[in-house]
């Protein structure tokens, strides 16, 4: 007896598919098309074939921006390490621990622009950091942190880490609370101290969460924009010191009106993200299998 296929499920899918098609697939297709054109948003696009991609390969600022984005990935292991530590610290039944858990989550629910502005104030010439360092005698004169090419990216990375630790710590906290208590008891019986318990029980137990956080925080690092935009006063930093791929894409599209070239940069970013994701997921999967 053959089964009759019902079209009802597909009818239910149509609204969602329509939304995906309109707001995801169509823009992606449009970006792919525009990447082969000279387009300034105001006048209709003109086809130039691979011209934008050829320009991309020869553009030193693009490669600088890509390098900065790759360097930004250093935020990932830092944020994972700090988040795991924080989750371990607050995973206790102490009085008032709920307040601490709420407090460290505050950056995650604060607006990124507001956070960026606050950090700008911190690092301005007359900001709190210089005031503190001068009063401690570490500096004699204020330092202009945000116009020093050596400091822009590290400060932006620090901001990303600070803003992300609370968010990811919640994920790790949930993971920790799913690890059976018996494993810690067994470790204690085997003579493990606190650090060894966390190394041999907590970290392996958190592997799925670590894989997840590694993937999403890496992709977020490759796409970073807000921090750079606010910290560098919309300039990307002197000598392109803070210019990341997405910031460069935005500058090309909205400052220089090269939406076609910006689309080519977006496609390049997509390919970089895809390749990176393949290697990351494979690498982590191998690690899981080995464990």
């Amino acid at each position: 007896m053959t089964e009759r296929r019902s079209i009802t499920p597909y009818l239910f899918l149509i609204p969602a598919l329509a939304l995906v098609a309109t707001f995801v697939l169509y823009p992606i297709a449009a970006v792919v098309y525009y990447s082969f054109t000279n387009y300034d948003i105001v006048t209709p696009p003109t086809w130039i074939g691979l011209g934008n991609y050829q320009h991309l390969l020869r553009d030193p600022t693009f490669w600088k921006a890509l390098t900065n984005s790759v360097v930004y990935l250093v935020a990932t292991p830092i944020v994972i390490g700090l988040s795991v530590l924080l989750a371990i610290v607050v995973n206790r039944q102490l009085r008032g621990i709920q307040i601490f858990r709420a407090l460290y989550f505050v950056p995650a629910v604060s607006g990124s622009i507001a956070i960026g502005i606050s950090w700008r104030w911190l690092f301005e010439r007359n900001g709190m950091l210089n005031s503190a360092l001068i009063s401690l005698g570490i500096l004699k004169e204020p330092v202009q942190w945000l116009t020093n090419p050596d400091f822009v990216l590290p400060i932006a990375i620090a901001l990303t880490v600070w803003a992300g630790v609370g968010y990811y710590a919640v994920i790790f906290l949930a993971g920790l609370q799913n690890i059976p208590e018996e494993l810690y008891d067994a470790a204690q019986i085997d003579g493990c101290n606190s650090i060894q318990k966390h190394w041999h029980v907590s970290l392996p137990g958190l592997r799925p969460q670590i894989v997840f956080v590694a993937v999403i925080s890496s992709l977020a690092a490759l796409k970073v924009f807000d921090e750079i935009y606010v910290l560098t006063n919309h300039t990307g930093g002197v000598l392109e010191s803070g210019t990341t791929i997405v910031f460069y894409l935005w500058r090309q599209a909205f400052n220089l009106s090269h939406a076609g070239y910006a689309s080519a940069i977006a496609i390049a970013l997509l390919l970089v993200t895809l390749v990176f994701s393949i290697f990351l997921v494979r690498g982590l999967e191998r690690g899981t299998a080995a464990a």
Partner: protein, 465 residues
């Protein structure tokens, strides 16, 4: 096989997350707005208009009249950063316009930080406003005129309407010798002086403030040595070629406009001046390189700089943020660059090229930029009219009571002597970006200014046909 399936599904999930998942700090370029747009010279947060009524019932000036306005026209009008502070002025002027042209209706919108993006998107979407406030200084008029999106006023506007403006202002942002904008409100740049730092701290006199830009480095060194304060000077990062032209006195293109020449000795000397100031650490490099004029204004308002170049209308921001500084404020004339002329600082109103109601649109633009509306506007906030007739009103010859009005008696002379000496620059935004990189490499990267500018000229010339 299973693993491959899992990997494929996993990759698709990862790509979906890459597209949809926010970062820890939610990257959102669309929330950022355009960095190219500076704030309106008039509207700032916390400004308080004067007590004058927004539209005087009686006026010494008349509104311009355009004949043949389309009956029952519905026109859209955008302003830049004027709401809510100047809502009353805009609304009463619109009301007077609608009374002058019965049946015509104006739909007004004010756009702010994202104005330029909104305007471009409106063109793309086919909903470009009929009448729009655009910036001459930012080059918006020329940008959209070159794209064929603005009405050629030289060919379409009545000659008596065009004749009501200062000729030098009407000539701004021309394309092919034709005007595409009605000059609107003007700002005059002056130096705000913090007397506590300059006079009490550094022992100098406001009356001796440098009259030439080339004397500023020595002043900054003295201020730093005596007070530890850095100079709050800003490079016009969105228009380096203007600054090289006006301050440096250099020609940025050859006479027939076929080659760039901004690596001349004059331009190199201009850049060297700033390189020396950065090396001597006498300037705040945050203020120097920012794309936002508000950053520098806030440094000055916080009492952290001896002087700051801006328009008198922004003194209200200082007054609101730091009343103590306001009570210790002085004004000095703007130091001139080697060109010996000052650049017009103006907003404009333009009309959409293919508007359905060209006469009504031009009539609205002429109304707002005409002597009567400009006089009303000037009485509310220290901006200055673009029409000589408006200055005949006694308001402009009164002795001003407030420091923010002290430029008023001189405004007509200053404005009619302003001159746009910058040639039309092909691929201006791209060339500016090339120059920006060259300037930064000299200021912060140790590159010799001559080499930096010569390399930039070679790159810029490669963009020319």
């Amino acid at each position: 096989m299973r693993n491959r399936t899992f990997l494929t599904v996993g990759l698709m999930a990862v790509l979906a997350m890459a597209a949809c998942t926010p970062s820890s700090t939610s990257p959102s370029p669309s929330a950022a707005g355009s960095a190219g747009a500076t704030q309106s010279a008039v509207a700032q947060a916390s400004v308080t208009p004067s007590k004058a009524p927004p539209c005087a019932a009686e006026s010494s000036q008349k509104d311009p009249v355009v004949d043949g306005v389309e009956a029952n026209a519905q026109i859209s009008f955008w302003t830049y950063y004027l709401s809510p502070t100047f809502d009353d002025f805009i609304k009463c002027t619109i009301a007077r316009y609608e009374a002058a042209y019965p049946g015509v209706k104006v739909h007004w919108e004010d756009h702010q930080a994202s104005y330029l993006d909104d305007y471009r998107n409106s063109i793309n979407a086919g909903s470009q406003p009929d009448v729009a406030n655009l910036s001459n200084n930012e080059g918006w008029v020329r940008e959209f005129a070159q794209a064929g999106k603005l009405l050629d006023l030289t060919k379409n506007a009545p000659s008596d309407i065009l004749g009501q403006y200062f000729p030098n202002l009407l000539a701004d942002n021309q394309v092919g010798g034709d005007s595409y904008q009605f000059p609107w409100y003007q700002a005059i740049a002056v130096e705000l002086i913090n007397k506590k730092i300059l006079e009490e701290g550094a022992g100098l006199k406001t009356a001796d403030f440098p009259t030439k830009v080339e004397d500023l480095p020595a002043l900054c060194k003295t201020i730093k040595d005596k007070t530890g304060t850095l100079c709050d000077i800003r490079l016009t990062v969105n228009d380096y070629l203007s600054q090289i032209t006006y301050e440096g006195g250099a020609d940025v293109m050859n006479a027939d406009g076929t080659k760039f020449t901004f690596d001349s000795p004059e331009a190199v000397a201009w850049l060297q001046m700033y390189v020396d100031m950065v090396k001597a650490q006498t300037v705040d490099t945050d203020a120097l390189t920012t794309a936002l004029d508000r950053v520098s204004l806030l440094i000055f308002s916080a009492g952290q700089a001896a002087f700051y170049q801006t328009g008198p209308q922004l003194i209200r921001v200082v007054k609101s943020n730091n009343p103590d500084l306001y009570n210790n404020l002085a004004l000095a004339p703007l130091p001139l660059g080697k060109s010996g002329v000052t650049q017009p600082t103006s907003m404009a109103i333009s009309v959409k090229a293919d508007t359905k109601f060209p006469k009504a649109s031009m009539a609205l633009a002429a109304f707002f930029t005409g002597p009567r509306a400009m006089l009303d506007f000037a009485k509310i906030v220290p901006i200055y009219p673009s029409t000589p007739a408006a200055y005949d009103d006694p308001f402009f010859s009164e002795t001003p009571a407030l420091i923010e009005d002290s430029a008023r008696p001189l405004a007509k002379t200053i404005i009619q002597n302003e001159k746009n000496i910058l040639p039309v620059i092909p691929h201006k935004k791209d060339v500016n970006d090339i120059v920006r990189q060259a300037v930064e490499s000299a200021l912060f990267g140790g590159v010799d200014p001559q080499k930096a500018l010569s390399d930039a000229v070679a790159q810029a010339n490669a963009l020319l046909p």
